[in-house]
Protein backbone atom coordinates (compact mmCIF):
# COMPACT_ATOMS: atom_id res chain seq x y z
CA UNK A 1 0.00 0.00 0.00
CA UNK A 2 1.36 3.38 -0.94
CA UNK A 3 1.26 6.31 1.42
CA UNK A 4 -0.10 9.66 0.40
CA UNK A 5 2.29 11.79 2.43
CA UNK A 6 6.00 11.39 3.16
CA UNK A 7 6.65 9.03 6.02
CA UNK A 8 9.27 10.05 8.54
CA UNK A 9 12.47 8.04 8.18
CA UNK A 10 14.55 9.87 10.80
CA UNK A 11 15.29 8.58 14.27
CA UNK A 12 17.37 10.26 16.95
CA UNK A 13 20.63 8.45 17.65
CA UNK A 14 21.63 4.91 16.65
CA UNK A 15 19.23 2.22 15.41
CA UNK A 16 19.08 -0.56 18.01
CA UNK A 17 19.26 -4.25 17.10
CA UNK A 18 16.06 -4.75 19.12
CA UNK A 19 14.26 -2.24 16.89
CA UNK A 20 15.36 -4.24 13.84
CA UNK A 21 14.15 -7.45 15.50
CA UNK A 22 10.74 -5.87 16.18
CA UNK A 23 10.46 -4.81 12.53
CA UNK A 24 11.26 -8.36 11.38
CA UNK A 25 8.84 -9.89 13.89
CA UNK A 26 5.97 -7.68 12.68
CA UNK A 27 6.21 -9.30 9.25
CA UNK A 28 5.39 -12.79 10.52
CA UNK A 29 1.70 -12.03 10.01
CA UNK A 30 2.32 -11.31 6.31
CA UNK A 31 2.25 -14.86 5.05
CA UNK A 32 2.54 -13.87 1.38
CA UNK A 33 6.16 -12.79 1.97
CA UNK A 34 8.89 -15.22 0.87
CA UNK A 35 12.00 -13.10 1.30
CA UNK A 36 13.29 -10.09 3.20
CA UNK A 37 16.38 -8.12 2.26
CA UNK A 38 17.99 -5.87 4.86
CA UNK A 39 20.83 -3.41 4.58
CA UNK A 40 22.41 -1.92 7.68
CA UNK A 41 24.90 0.93 7.58
CA UNK A 42 27.30 0.84 10.51
CA UNK A 43 29.61 3.68 11.56
CA UNK A 44 33.19 2.74 10.79
CA UNK A 45 36.18 3.87 12.87
CA UNK A 46 38.06 5.11 9.80
CA UNK A 47 41.51 6.63 10.16
CA UNK A 48 41.74 10.22 8.89
CA UNK A 49 45.21 11.85 8.97
CA UNK A 50 46.25 9.49 11.74
CA UNK A 51 43.16 10.26 13.84
CA UNK A 52 40.29 7.87 14.33
CA UNK A 53 36.56 8.47 13.78
CA UNK A 54 34.86 7.95 17.15
CA UNK A 55 31.34 8.81 15.95
CA UNK A 56 29.37 10.54 13.21
CA UNK A 57 26.95 13.37 13.88
CA UNK A 58 24.19 13.34 11.27
CA UNK A 59 22.16 16.35 10.18
CA UNK A 60 19.63 16.58 7.37
CA UNK A 61 17.50 18.98 5.42
CA UNK A 62 14.61 16.96 6.73
CA UNK A 63 11.71 18.32 4.66
CA UNK A 64 13.56 17.88 1.41
CA UNK A 65 14.94 14.48 2.42
CA UNK A 66 11.46 13.17 3.20
CA UNK A 67 10.14 14.41 -0.15
CA UNK A 68 13.05 12.78 -2.00
CA UNK A 69 12.52 9.56 -0.05
CA UNK A 70 8.85 9.63 -1.01
CA UNK A 71 9.82 9.80 -4.69
CA UNK A 72 12.39 7.02 -4.31
CA UNK A 73 9.79 4.84 -2.57
CA UNK A 74 7.23 5.46 -5.34
CA UNK A 75 9.80 4.64 -8.03
CA UNK A 76 10.90 1.44 -6.29
CA UNK A 77 7.31 0.24 -5.76
CA UNK A 78 6.61 0.86 -9.46
CA UNK A 79 9.70 -1.08 -10.52
CA UNK A 80 9.62 -4.05 -8.13
CA UNK A 81 6.84 -6.28 -6.89
CA UNK A 82 7.29 -5.50 -3.19
CA UNK A 83 5.08 -6.27 -0.23
CA UNK A 84 6.63 -3.53 1.85
CA UNK A 85 9.61 -1.26 2.38
CA UNK A 86 10.90 0.40 5.55
CA UNK A 87 13.72 2.92 5.79
CA UNK A 88 15.22 4.46 8.92
CA UNK A 89 18.14 6.88 9.15
CA UNK A 90 19.78 8.27 12.26
CA UNK A 91 20.12 11.93 13.13
CA UNK A 92 22.49 13.17 15.82
CA UNK A 93 25.39 11.19 17.20
CA UNK A 94 26.03 7.57 16.24
CA UNK A 95 29.18 5.97 17.64
CA UNK A 96 31.57 3.68 15.75
CA UNK A 97 30.05 0.18 15.68
CA UNK A 98 26.49 1.50 15.93
CA UNK A 99 23.92 1.41 13.14
CA UNK A 100 22.83 4.58 11.33
CA UNK A 101 20.84 3.20 8.38
CA UNK A 102 18.26 0.42 8.16
CA UNK A 103 16.66 -0.44 4.82
CA UNK A 104 14.19 -3.34 4.81
CA UNK A 105 12.35 -4.67 1.74
CA UNK A 106 10.05 -7.68 1.53
CA UNK A 107 8.51 -9.54 -1.38
CA UNK A 108 6.93 -12.85 -2.33
CA UNK A 109 10.16 -13.68 -4.18
CA UNK A 110 13.72 -13.00 -3.14
CA UNK A 111 14.94 -11.33 -6.34
CA UNK A 112 12.56 -8.36 -6.04
CA UNK A 113 13.38 -7.87 -2.35
CA UNK A 114 17.16 -8.04 -2.92
CA UNK A 115 17.23 -5.77 -5.98
CA UNK A 116 14.86 -3.22 -4.44
CA UNK A 117 16.91 -3.06 -1.25
CA UNK A 118 20.16 -2.46 -3.10
CA UNK A 119 18.65 0.19 -5.39
CA UNK A 120 17.04 1.99 -2.45
CA UNK A 121 20.37 2.11 -0.59
CA UNK A 122 22.20 3.46 -3.65
CA UNK A 123 19.56 6.08 -4.34
CA UNK A 124 19.23 7.36 -0.81
CA UNK A 125 22.99 7.69 -0.41
CA UNK A 126 23.14 9.74 -3.62
CA UNK A 127 19.91 11.72 -3.30
CA UNK A 128 19.04 12.43 0.34
CA UNK A 129 20.32 15.72 1.74
CA UNK A 130 21.90 14.19 4.82
CA UNK A 131 25.37 15.01 6.15
CA UNK A 132 27.70 13.10 8.39
CA UNK A 133 30.27 14.98 10.46
CA UNK A 134 32.98 12.53 11.45
CA UNK A 135 34.11 13.34 14.97
CA UNK A 136 37.75 12.45 15.53
CA UNK A 137 39.78 11.36 18.55
CA UNK A 138 41.39 14.81 18.97
CA UNK A 139 37.98 16.56 19.00
CA UNK A 140 38.41 17.93 15.49
CA UNK A 141 36.03 16.78 12.77
CA UNK A 142 35.81 15.92 9.10
CA UNK A 143 32.81 16.20 6.77
CA UNK A 144 32.10 12.85 5.17
CA UNK A 145 31.28 12.76 1.43
CA UNK A 146 29.52 10.00 -0.50
CA UNK A 147 30.67 9.49 -4.08
CA UNK A 148 28.35 10.75 -6.83
CA UNK A 149 26.08 13.06 -4.89
CA UNK A 150 24.93 16.14 -6.84
Amino acid sequence: MKERKPKNIFVQGPIAASFIADSIQKHSSKIDIGGHSIFLGQVRADKIDGKEVTSIEYTAYEDMALERMYTIREDIFKKYDLTCMHVYHSLGIVKAGEISLFVFTSSAHRKAAIDACEETVERLKAELPVWGKELLTDETYHWKENPQTP
Binding site: G41, Y61, E127, W143, N146, T149
Partner: protein, 76 residues
Protein backbone atom coordinates in the same frame (compact mmCIF):
# COMPACT_ATOMS: atom_id res chain seq x y z
CA UNK B 1 14.10 41.75 -2.79
CA UNK B 2 15.57 39.98 0.21
CA UNK B 3 15.91 36.19 0.21
CA UNK B 4 16.61 34.00 3.20
CA UNK B 5 18.76 30.98 2.54
CA UNK B 6 19.60 28.02 4.72
CA UNK B 7 22.96 26.27 4.72
CA UNK B 8 24.06 22.79 5.78
CA UNK B 9 27.18 20.86 6.66
CA UNK B 10 30.48 22.56 5.96
CA UNK B 11 28.67 25.51 4.37
CA UNK B 12 27.09 26.28 7.74
CA UNK B 13 30.61 26.23 9.22
CA UNK B 14 31.52 29.02 6.79
CA UNK B 15 28.44 31.24 6.82
CA UNK B 16 26.12 29.98 9.57
CA UNK B 17 22.85 28.05 9.40
CA UNK B 18 20.98 30.82 7.63
CA UNK B 19 21.75 34.07 5.83
CA UNK B 20 19.59 36.87 4.39
CA UNK B 21 20.69 38.29 1.08
CA UNK B 22 19.30 41.57 -0.32
CA UNK B 23 18.65 42.55 -3.91
CA UNK B 24 18.81 39.16 -5.58
CA UNK B 25 16.47 38.25 -8.41
CA UNK B 26 17.80 34.83 -9.26
CA UNK B 27 20.20 32.11 -8.13
CA UNK B 28 23.14 33.43 -10.19
CA UNK B 29 23.00 36.83 -8.53
CA UNK B 30 22.55 35.11 -5.17
CA UNK B 31 25.77 33.17 -5.70
CA UNK B 32 27.64 36.36 -6.75
CA UNK B 33 26.47 38.13 -3.66
CA UNK B 34 27.38 35.25 -1.36
CA UNK B 35 30.83 34.85 -2.88
CA UNK B 36 31.60 38.50 -2.12
CA UNK B 37 30.47 38.15 1.46
CA UNK B 38 31.97 34.68 2.10
CA UNK B 39 34.94 34.17 -0.25
CA UNK B 40 35.38 30.62 1.09
CA UNK B 41 32.02 29.62 -0.40
CA UNK B 42 33.37 30.28 -3.90
CA UNK B 43 35.81 27.41 -3.48
CA UNK B 44 33.43 25.01 -1.75
CA UNK B 45 31.38 22.45 -3.63
CA UNK B 46 27.61 22.63 -3.27
CA UNK B 47 24.30 22.55 -5.12
CA UNK B 48 21.35 24.91 -4.70
CA UNK B 49 17.86 23.71 -3.90
CA UNK B 50 14.89 26.01 -4.54
CA UNK B 51 11.66 24.85 -2.93
CA UNK B 52 13.30 21.51 -2.08
CA UNK B 53 14.31 20.78 -5.68
CA UNK B 54 17.93 20.86 -6.81
CA UNK B 55 18.32 23.47 -9.59
CA UNK B 56 21.10 23.23 -12.13
CA UNK B 57 20.32 26.37 -14.19
CA UNK B 58 19.87 29.96 -13.16
CA UNK B 59 16.48 30.15 -11.44
CA UNK B 60 14.29 33.17 -10.74
CA UNK B 61 13.60 33.69 -7.03
CA UNK B 62 10.66 35.34 -5.32
CA UNK B 63 10.28 36.38 -1.70
CA UNK B 64 8.60 33.06 -0.86
CA UNK B 65 11.38 30.96 -2.39
CA UNK B 66 12.94 28.45 0.00
CA UNK B 67 16.60 28.45 -0.95
CA UNK B 68 19.07 25.97 0.50
CA UNK B 69 22.77 25.41 -0.16
CA UNK B 70 23.67 21.74 -0.01
CA UNK B 71 27.23 20.40 0.18
CA UNK B 72 27.92 16.82 -1.05
CA UNK B 73 25.64 14.36 0.73
CA UNK B 74 26.96 11.79 3.12
CA UNK B 75 24.00 9.93 4.53
CA UNK B 76 23.84 6.20 5.14
Amino acid sequence: MSVKIILFGRLADIAGDSVSVDNVADTDSLVDSLNKRYPQLATTKYVIAVDKQVVTKNTVLNKKSMVALLPPFSGG
